[in-house]
């Protein structure tokens, strides 16, 4: 029987993978995808818990998260394009003009 714990564990693993991805990947797009993984793991948690606690709030939350993720994607990609235009790179290690 797959209990809520399994869902939670899975989402925790996904979340960790996402986090580690953010910490280790260099390509901005990949990092962004990792963040999406994190958000989706949260979505999974919400849905599982929604079922577990027996109300809809969690599922509604997921809708909002998805919407927001879409908006973020739009803005994020736009920013990346702008940056790429100037530096011809989307390696995050190239964002280091501003430091100290």
């Amino acid at each position: 029987m797959i209990s809520v714990h399994h869902y939670l564990l899975l989402s925790a693993i996904l979340f960790s993978i996402g986090t580690l991805g953010v910490l280790t990947r260099k390509n901005a797009i990949v990092i962004f995808m990792c963040i999406e993984v994190m958000l989706n793991s949260v979505n999974l948690t919400f849905i599982a818990l929604s079922k577990h606690v027996g109300n809809m709030d969690g599922q509604i939350f997921v809708f909002f998260v998805m919407t927001v993720a879409a908006a973020e994607a739009a803005v994020g990609l736009a920013l990346m394009i702008a940056f790429f235009k100037n530096k011809e790179s989307i390696e995050v290690d190239d964002f280091n003009m501003l430091k100290w």
């Binding site: 962004f32 973020e72 920013l79």
Partner: protein, 487 residues
């Protein structure tokens, strides 16, 4: 669906609870349309229009004073607390707009969307401040953040601005992940995302407060807010973003959104997570010290004034955290007062910087303002007043604000925290003084002929000075308001 339920839901909606942000959003959309159809470069009317929008919103907001409105099934609560923070955001936005018009023209980006984005940001901030459901708070936060990502990277031809936008975007989204995960865990334990609901659940089930999921969830949620208010160790985006973003946006970020974040932060912490008070204060004690210290110490070696003010804003977040640690009414109303004061003094300082910057703003360094006191005496005096206020020197508002916060800490017995706080202020004196040293004690190398006063910026500076001095000398009425704004 049951007709009664629908009826109830409709009654629960209560648009007056979101009236301010609604008004602002509508204006924002109108502005978007207007800017589409307006000629490029002719943004002054749009700027004034957005200013008027803010004034109207301000009136709407203030009319709700002492008339709390709940709505949307308890996910929005427009009480005095929210109103107070809303006003801070509105003032911040208004001051930003006033100083932006000329700035945008100088930097070569005279586009109307800028103003619309500011209004959206403000609307998001207001949702955040009046949200009583983690969902509304999250939504507000994201509306605010997404708009700010754009604003930070607004100068799309400037690598610096791009970089600021991207860094802010990535780290912001990253921290959102944590915040959301925290919300999810809390939801899992309590079955609700309403902050009062969480509090009630914990009150009813005392075991919940020791539930690992609850604790972890609460903490993850708080890290999201700590990121927004730029508390160590989640502060690292701040200097880079503040430095790279367009200066008025930097000013705005340091005041409005931060205030809103604090609003939600306070509400969530002190209502939903009240049961964790002992643990939270212990951690925040450390974080407050870290934040103040990191901000102040690193600011000492900065040459770029914008970046320096970014670090300074970190340290001010640290002072504000002290108010949270105190965990009493004086503490959080102190934060409210402090945020208002900070809005005036910090935005005032940025307004002056906006005015004295050359295109590209490479001259906004400590050495770049050499002798300004003699070439542009009025501006220099204004900047000095703001810096003195940031230092916390009486009789400016900065002192009253710090006093308020430290009073709260002392009252709750956190004397050492207060001592560390004041010692940190002492350290901070140095870097603020450095700017004044450069302005007054060094001979001018340039004539500052480009620093020409314009109406908008002048108004913003005057408002800021008035705020700084008035709140410094006669802080009573506003403090009284802050007190009344307690929830």
């Amino acid at each position: 669906m049951d007709a009664n339920l629908v009826q109830e839901a409709i009654q629960n909606v209560n648009f007056s609870a979101i009236m301010p942000s609604l008004v602002l959003s509508v204006f924002g959309m109108v502005l978007l349309l207007v800017s589409v159809f307006s000629q490029r470069g002719k943004t002054t009317p749009i700027a004034w229009l957005s200013f008027i929008a803010l004034v109207i919103t301000g009136i709407v907001t203030l009319s709700g004073w002492n008339n709390p409105q709940a709505g949307f099934a308890g996910s929005v609560l427009l009480d005095n607390f929210a109103t107070f923070f809303n006003m801070i955001c509105i003032i911040a936005a208004a001051l930003t707009i006033l100083m932006s018009d000329n700035y945008l023209k100088r930097e070569g980006y005279p586009v109307g969307e800028y103003y619309a984005l500011i209004l959206f940001t403000t609307a998001g901030a207001m949702w955040m401040a009046s949200g009583t459901d983690l969902m509304t708070i999250f939504l507000g936060l994201e509306v605010l953040s997404v708009s700010l990502y754009v604003l930070a990277g607004f100068f799309r031809d400037q690598t610096r601005s791009n970089e600021a936008g991207l860094k802010y975007f990535f780290l912001g989204a990253f921290s959102t992940g944590f915040l959301l995960y925290g919300v999810a865990l809390l939801y899992g334990v309590t079955g609700t995302t309403k902050i009062h609901g969480i509090a009630e659940y914990v009150a009813a089930n005392s075991a919940a407060s020791s539930n690992i999921m609850f604790i972890a969830g609460g903490m993850l949620l708080l890290t999201g807010f700590l990121f927004k208010v730029a508390a160590a160790p989640f502060h690292m985006w701040t200097p880079d973003v503040y430095q790279g973003a367009p200066t008025p946006i930097t000013a705005f970020m340091s005041a409005g959104p931060k205030a809103a974040a604090f609003a939600a932060f306070i509400r969530v912490t002190m209502v939903a997570l009240e049961s964790m008070q002992a643990d939270i204060t212990a951690v925040f004690w450390v974080l407050a010290v870290l934040t103040m210290t990191a901000g102040n110490f690193i600011a000492l070696s900065q040459k770029d004034i914008k970046r320096m003010l970014a670090y300074s804003s970190i340290s001010h977040a640290g002072y504000a955290l002290v108010g949270l640690v105190a965990w009493n009414e004086i503490g959080y109303t102190g934060i409210m007062f402090y945020m208002l004061v900070y809005t005036f003094m910090n935005m005032g300082a940025f307004a002056v910087l906006v005015l004295i910057g050359k295109k590209g703003e490479d001259n906004l360094t400590v050495d770049g303002v050499k002798g300004m006191g003699y070439k542009r005496p009025v501006l220099a005096i204004a900047l000095s007043i703001f810096l003195l206020s940031l230092m916390g020197m009486p009789p400016t508002a900065g002192f009253a604000g710090k006093f308020y916060i430290f009073a709260a800490a002392v009252k709750s017995g956190y004397i050492w925290l207060a001592v560390i706080g004041v010692l940190n202020s002492a350290v901070s004196l140095y870097y603020y003084l450095r700017v004044m040293v450069s302005m007054y004690f060094k001979d001018a190398e340039e004539d500052f002929s480009w620093a020409v006063m314009n109406t908008g910026t002048a108004i913003s500076i005057v408002i800021a000075i008035a705020g700084v001095l008035l709140l410094g000398v006669l802080p009573g009425p506003v403090m009284e308001m802050a007190k009344l704004a307690g929830f």
